[in-house]
Symmetry: C2
Amino acid sequence: MIEYRPLRIALLGAGSVGGQVARLLLENKNELAARVGAELELIGIAVRDLNGKRDSAIPRELLTTDAEALIMTADIVIEVMGGIEPARTLIRQALLAGADVITANKALLANHSTELFDVAEQVGAQLYYEAAVAAAIPIIRPLRESLAGDKVIRIMGIVNGSTNYILDRMDSEGLSLEAAMVEATDLGYLEADPKLDVEGYDAAQKIAILASLAFHTEVDLNSVHREGITSITPAQIASARENGYVIKLLAVCEKIEADEDGEAGVSARVYPALIPREHPLASVRKAFNAVFVEAEAAGELMFYGAGAGGSQTASAVLGDLVSAAKRHVIGGPGLADSAHADLPTLPISRITTSYQIALEVKDQPGVLAEVANIFATHNVSVETVEQSIANKRQNPTAQLLIGTHDAKDSALTAVVQALSSSKVVDSITSVIRVEGN
Amino acid sequence: MIEYRPLRIALLGAGSVGGQVARLLLENKNELAARVGAELELIGIAVRDLNGKRDSAIPRELLTTDAEALIMTADIVIEVMGGIEPARTLIRQALLAGADVITANKALLANHSTELFDVAEQVGAQLYYEAAVAAAIPIIRPLRESLAGDKVIRIMGIVNGSTNYILDRMDSEGLSLEAAMVEATDLGYLEADPKLDVEGYDAAQKIAILASLAFHTEVDLNSVHREGITSITPAQIASARENGYVIKLLAVCEKIEADEDGEAGVSARVYPALIPREHPLASVRKAFNAVFVEAEAAGELMFYGAGAGGSQTASAVLGDLVSAAKRHVIGGPGLADSAHADLPTLPISRITTSYQIALEVKDQPGVLAEVANIFATHNVSVETVEQSIANKRQNPTAQLLIGTHDAKDSALTAVVQALSSSKVVDSITSVIRVEGN
């Protein structure tokens, strides 16, 4: 029942994702044609160097270095080359030429999505990007379509596989950060520049994309608060475990209502946080990703899977390709994502969370009262205090592990500030946020 | 930017789901209109009895007992009345009148989906049913769209919340089945007829729907193998825990290739099974649901959330409503689900799995050899044997806990049969399948 002309598909990039996209397109040719109602014809694959090393799935006769010429005759352009340029210029050109575009490029979207969506809207073309966040885990489509009649309250994601692997190995095997990073490097989990992972840049890009979509508002990557995992110690991991928590690098976004500190807006942030072991995110092990969504009517949802990998990313690209191709054949609804809510992105000081703070204090009368007083002064309510005494001969000290109730992050920061300058506090060993309680 | 005429929405049913659908439709009127590009006008709510007790969100002036008249003037009909009739006849009439239909009715779909999809296809109308399986958890749309360019290998779901609650309480609190059932009843988790839950009928309906969708083939509800949880004992739960497993009621479907026992086909089944505690499904606690999908390119995915509840189901209905309404406004791809693969549904004997078998045997020389011989005769390979001796004075017996490697279910059944008639076996205390290893 193929009644429509073949659709012309151009592929930009022939790396690990491009190779898998080409393989799936060619291997599943007949099934895809049956699903779409038209043949999907791969008309060319743009690469920088015709003689580079390639996946054997890439038909060499389709390779070209002239990406601009290739996209001009395509119905649908798949961009899996990565990086900002020339991807950005090529996607603009493709959209302006009337092609629908599918991209797996999170860096590009996190930095230039408004520009690209504007171009797409002007010309009535579509830009699909399921593969740009968490690879094959369907998260863009559920946010955009399944929850279209609901309201997202908050998203908490484990969206960087390598840091989750590192933290998981520190937790399950007691490894040091350095040893876990060596393992992750050996397994090929870390980016060429590991800072992108361990300092939270990759997660920040992804949460900027998710926040924009969930709250119909433009979230600038530069306004995402970002803390990485480089200062996480085995002692913090062990303490978390003893107390029924696990440390995960969380990417969080949520709607914040207007209050005495300012207007309503969106918070987007990345930081390591304690989450209770019974929380569904705690069971996300190894390099897996998961996105936990709270919505008004739907309640709690979680989407779990491999957040990276050539074939996983290609699976998401192919899902978008089938949607785009069907729209060519039968016509279809525009994506109609818009920044209609137009909310500001708020600083971290506006969020409400709780802290767990580990202190080394002098073991002498009145210390606990003084510490408690610091919390009270800043209107931060203490939920738990655990004290353990290490009687060093010369200088007896006590360890305090203090868990707070929810409070404004600004108040918690002020507490930490005050503690650090208090005479009874020898040192602050750990400050970490708690989520998911 | 509302340019399209208002769309006329008819609601059939005003129970807990209907009340929430009405509430969301009315409360989010403006957001929905902005998203769709047309107003969604609730034109009437069909009920059996105008004077029944209602959610306060239901506007009484919209109530009518004349469902047939109501659907004749609707663009989109939402069926949340449940049950086979009159839902089936009304949905047929609505489709034939050209309306798109959204249903949350799993029993109807599990029994009559082919008929209803055929009617929809004939007239070019659409039938949406995200809410029919696992409420707000987006699983229909990901299977239909996100994985449209991939191939599903297998689905394992915890799709019945009440039985998951019961098994979770038995596991975490050591409750008996009866005590856990009382709790579940008190919490309103069990259906009016608890058999539908505890004997796996509800889960069987859901996996029939998922299997049909995942494998593009018609899966008859009667061909779903079904075992409930009524024979699960605290001893089995405790043994599972000791061995690093947890018992879950799993609904499984998978593609089975042709082999020496017959042609290729689909297996769909429901049974309690052991799964390793590290498996993502093991962390699904209380009355939550989750669907674990393995696909060729995407790898492992899991979708988690509340699988029931009025507002959760309504969230899924609204997601479908926005899709259906957008299609009215802008035109859109048909769902184009088809049973093109047309595979047979295979009997349980064709599946490959592993068993864990607990036996009470005579504690005398040669017994283990004889038991091992029974496994070998049927070509079932033993992976683990644990023996514990209970020296009853008169009649010394030993407990054997035997884990098998993967084998055909028919061979495993034959082993159990042979064990039960063996002279050295006093009794078979537990036979349970293992999944997710």
